[in-house]
Amino acid sequence: MTTNITFQLNGREKTVQAHPMARLLDVLRQDCSLTGTKEGCGEGECGACTVIIDGRAVMSCMVPVCQVHGSKVESIEGLESMGADGQTCLHLIQEAFIKCGGAQCGICTPGMIMAAVAYLRQPESAPGGVAEALEGNLCRCTGYTRIFESVKTAIDRMKTGANQSR
């Protein structure tokens, strides 16, 4: 039993034919071939599958795809933008993760970055700051120090006026 579900995926309208209770994670990875979103636990604990749905960071393993009908979904693949020279440009937070050592094995990184992006856009969503904003995203490699530094670096660069339209 499948049905058509339409949502905005990384800025473009997308219609998938899927079981309404299929996990958004599987629809992204299999139907949409967007494998940047990772499965770490499948039970909403690790955050590796975090995407942004209508502005909020959400774990896609816990979302039946029918719930995103009519919503805006953003995955890690939608973060890069096209520069004037035709080359893809990394988002500030992606650059900061590379520069500051925020990614090690990388499996938590896409989800961690999406959670960080949601926080950068709406800092009031986590009054306790970066650590609170990322509490739902587990990293086993870094001890979080360099991840915090990555997010802080991105915030500083946004404040100093680096081009940040997204």
């Binding site: 940047g36 990184t109 001890g143």
Partner: protein, 708 residues
């Protein structure tokens, strides 16, 4: 403060991670990201008892079994997972020795069907009593190290202290579960996997199927964390996938879900250490008697080597005029324990450091001053008889961590039982394989010049997050005097890269890096001023290879367990500052301060990342990570109830590197990755003990444990 040699172009620089861009964009391909049209989804059917015999296997009704590929023990050419000892079957041979032991393998094109079918397989057992603790079972491996007249040294001690310490198991919780994709191409098997040691898999597959090494191609995909958990365990996953692929004639995906991974995969060995210390009234250590015991689980896996490293680190960084260290691993009916960052050393060093803190307390001495009196120095003899040939610089490292942490003021102002505390631990960690291990491995690396002027680094040493690709490119470019952009890390496929040994034991940067450095130096000489492209054009090819050579004078005797256990040691002084909630008894590790000697920092950002990550894992092991075994299986095999540190739990980590370069490591580098697992736990328990005025002798020290 990060010292670096200003004459180096790349070494000592925080060069950006090689594969960083792929990782932050989601382009990095992990095994589960590979599309495999026409592949079968696989599942492993496991035992539900810890000990017994299989009586009957029933395939239930309502499942189209003819559509399934089912592998049982009869389908296995040689039913052994090849490792140290040939005792572990690929599939259960009728006798069940632990919970979650693999019994059957099933595969089907529809993933949902596989899950449904798995539930309809009913296995009945003749259950036998299981041994699930250290002690009653058979001793699997035993070591004994004796130095000096131990009994006389105790007799002449003013104070003799005795205590028993326990450490719990620990699950790796790499965020990417284990997984393999297997496909036979004619008589050749191709395996894509998440793994640390490609040549372990080659050996296991070769032996199981009775085929030639060249018939096995192991390809490492981007690996989402290992920490030892993907050292030997992937052998089992690879064999299972290969068996199903053989029988079905189709590609097979065997990707574990989190619960299965946590329940069945290897973990840190639980330990019990009985420590007896003799000391003079003025605080000089006289004698050590250390009885180290670990639970090996149902099969040998790597337990003898884990035990060995535990035994070899038990003396810590102290001078013992006399020492007796005995180590035993016990066979039980727990799922086999295996490699985990630190590899036995965190367990024995936990006991050593707790005991040192307790003895200082008994003497009424500051634990820092007590240590200072007893630290190892150049020329001192360790329990194996190894004479330290370099000054460890521990006094300066201790001074610095004490200054950084405000140790003296905090100890004075935080009264015992006040809910706040500080604790100290000072440790060492041997670089690379134990004793003669590196000689036995005979690791090889190669560099190959290409017609386009680039140079490929050919190694089997894997990138698992720690930065192998980046540091090897730095090392090679430095020695070749080439821009880093011209040096590339070759994807690991065993048909293309030599066996540079396993990616374990903190050996990659220092030991394998040294081989890369030498191969690059040889290539530089061979080029003799020509460019790589010119040389390749003129000579057809350009290749240099190096093989491990033991450092001069290093002797180790496996029979007597005497000699130089490790070629080089890294050192670390840790201070933990904690707060314990007076109502809930929840310990919050606020800060870990540490001074760290890993020799030359090839890449400071990566080095910080390694040490910080290890510290966080150690704090988790000490305070929240409890593997609750029920009837021989991990009852809390979910991220919901096995608690690793989150961004809110993780401590602030203040590090300072104080390098003493090792002339035989790559550009002076020593072991990095494992040492930060050793010291934080005893520092944390000392701090908790201070905060609640209680002696902590077992970890994890969860709130429940602290209240009872």
């Amino acid at each position: 403060m990060t010292p670096s040699n200003p004459t180096y172009q790349y070494v000592g620089k925080s060069v950006l991670r090689n594969e960083g861009r792929n990782k932050v964009t989601g382009r990095a391909v992990y095994v589960d990201d590979i599309a495999t049209p026409g592949a079968l989804y696989a599942k492993t059917i496991r035992s539900t008892v810890a000990c017994g015999r299989i009586k009957d296997i029933q395939f239930g009704p309502g499942i189209p079994w003819d559509e399934f590929t089912v592998v049982d023990v009869r389908d296995i050419p040689h039913n052994v997972v090849e490792l140290i000892k040939a005792d572990q079957p690929v599939l259960c041979d009728g006798v069940v020795r632990h919970r979650e032991e693999p019994i059957l393998l099933i595969a089907h094109p529809d993933k949902g069907m596989v899950e449904n079918a798995a539930r309809e397989i009913k296995i009945t057992y003749e259950v036998e009593p299981a041994i699930l603790e250290i002690g009653p079972g058979a001793v699997q491996t035993e070591y004994l190290i004796v130095e000096g007249d131990v009994d006389a040294a105790f007799a002449s001690s003013d104070i003799v202290f005795e205590e028993t310490y326990q450490t719990g198991s620990q699950e790796h919780v790499y965020i990417e579960p284990n997984g393999f994709i297997a496909e036979w191409q004619g008589d050749r098997i191709v395996l894509h996997g998440s793994l640390q040691c490609p040549y372990y898999v080659v050996k296991a597959v070769k032996m199981c199927f009775g085929i030639e090494e060249k018939q096995v191609e192991v390809i490492q995909e981007t690996t989402g964390g290992g920490f030892g958990g993907k050292e030997e365990f992937p052998n089992v996953v690879a064999l299972h996938a290969a068996l199903l692929a053989k029988k079905s004639g189709k590609p097979v995906r065997l990707i574990y879900d989190r619960q299965e991974d946590m329940a069945c995969s290897t973990k840190r060995h639980p330990s019990v250490s009985r420590v007896k210390i003799g000391v003079s009234r003025d605080g000089v250590l006289k004698a050590l008697d250390f009885d180290f015991q670990i639970d090996a689980g149902a099969y040998v896996t790597l337990s003898p080597v884990v035990l060995s490293r535990g035994v070899l680190h038990a003396g810590g960084c102290y001078r013992w005029p006399a020492a007796r260290i005995r180590g035993r691993s016990f066979t039980t009916n727990s799922p086999p324990y295996g490699a985990f960052r630190g590899f036995g050393a965190p367990q024995s060093l936990f006991a050593t450091e707790c005991a040192i803190n307790a003895v200082a307390d008994r003497l009424g001495m500051d634990p820092a001053e007590f240590r200072r009196k007893n630290f190892l120095h150049k020329g001192d003899k360790m329990p194996t008889g190894q004479v330290l040939d370099v000054e460890p610089n521990l006094d300066a490292m201790l001074d610095r961590v004490i200054a950084m942490s405000g140790w003296a003021e905090k100890r004075a102002s935080m009264k015992k039982g006040s809910g706040r505390g500080v604790g100290l631990a000072t440790i060492l960690h041997g670089t690379g394989f134990t004793g003669s291990g590196e000689v036995y491995l005979q690791s090889r690396v190669a560099l190959a010049g290409r017609a386009d002027g680039k140079v490929d680094i050919l190694v089997g040493s894997t990138e698992i997050g720690q930065g192998t690709e980046t540091i090897f490119r730095q090392i090679a470019a430095e020695a070749l005097r080439l821009p880093m952009e011209q040096v590339e890390f070759h994807k690991i496929r065993t048909s293309a890269v030599p066996n540079s040994g396993p990616t374990v034991a903190s050996r990659t940067c220092s030991v394998v890096g040294r081989l890369v450095q030498r191969a690059a130096e040889q290539m530089f000489e061979k080029l003799d001023g020509k460019s790589v492209a010119e040389y390749v054009k003129a000579n057809g090819s350009l290749r240099t290879e190096t093989q491990f050579e033991p450092r001069p004078g290093l002797k180790w005797d496996d029979a007597t367990y005497k000699g130089s256990a490790y070629g080089a040691y890294s050192w670390m002084c840790n201070v933990a500052e904690v707060q314990v909630d007076p109502v809930t008894a929840t310990p919050k590790v606020e800060t870990i301060f540490a001074t760290v000697d890993i020799g030359t920092l090839i890449n400071p950002t990566l080095a910080y990342g390694q040490v910080e990550g290890g510290v966080a894992q150690a704090v988790g092991w000490a305070t929240s990570e409890k593997v609750t075994l029920r009837d021989g299986v991990m009852a809390n095999c979910q991220m919901t109830n096995y608690i690793i540190p989150t961004s809110v739990d993780a401590p602030d980590i203040q590090l300072e590197f104080m390098p003493t370069p090792d002339p035989f490591g790559a550009f002076g580098a020593k072991g990095v990755g494992e040492m930060p697992m050793d010291g934080p736990a005893p520092a944390v328990t000392a701090a908790i003990g201070h905060a609640i005025n209680k002696t902590i002798s077992a970890i994890p020290a969860t709130p429940e444990d602290l209240i009872s």
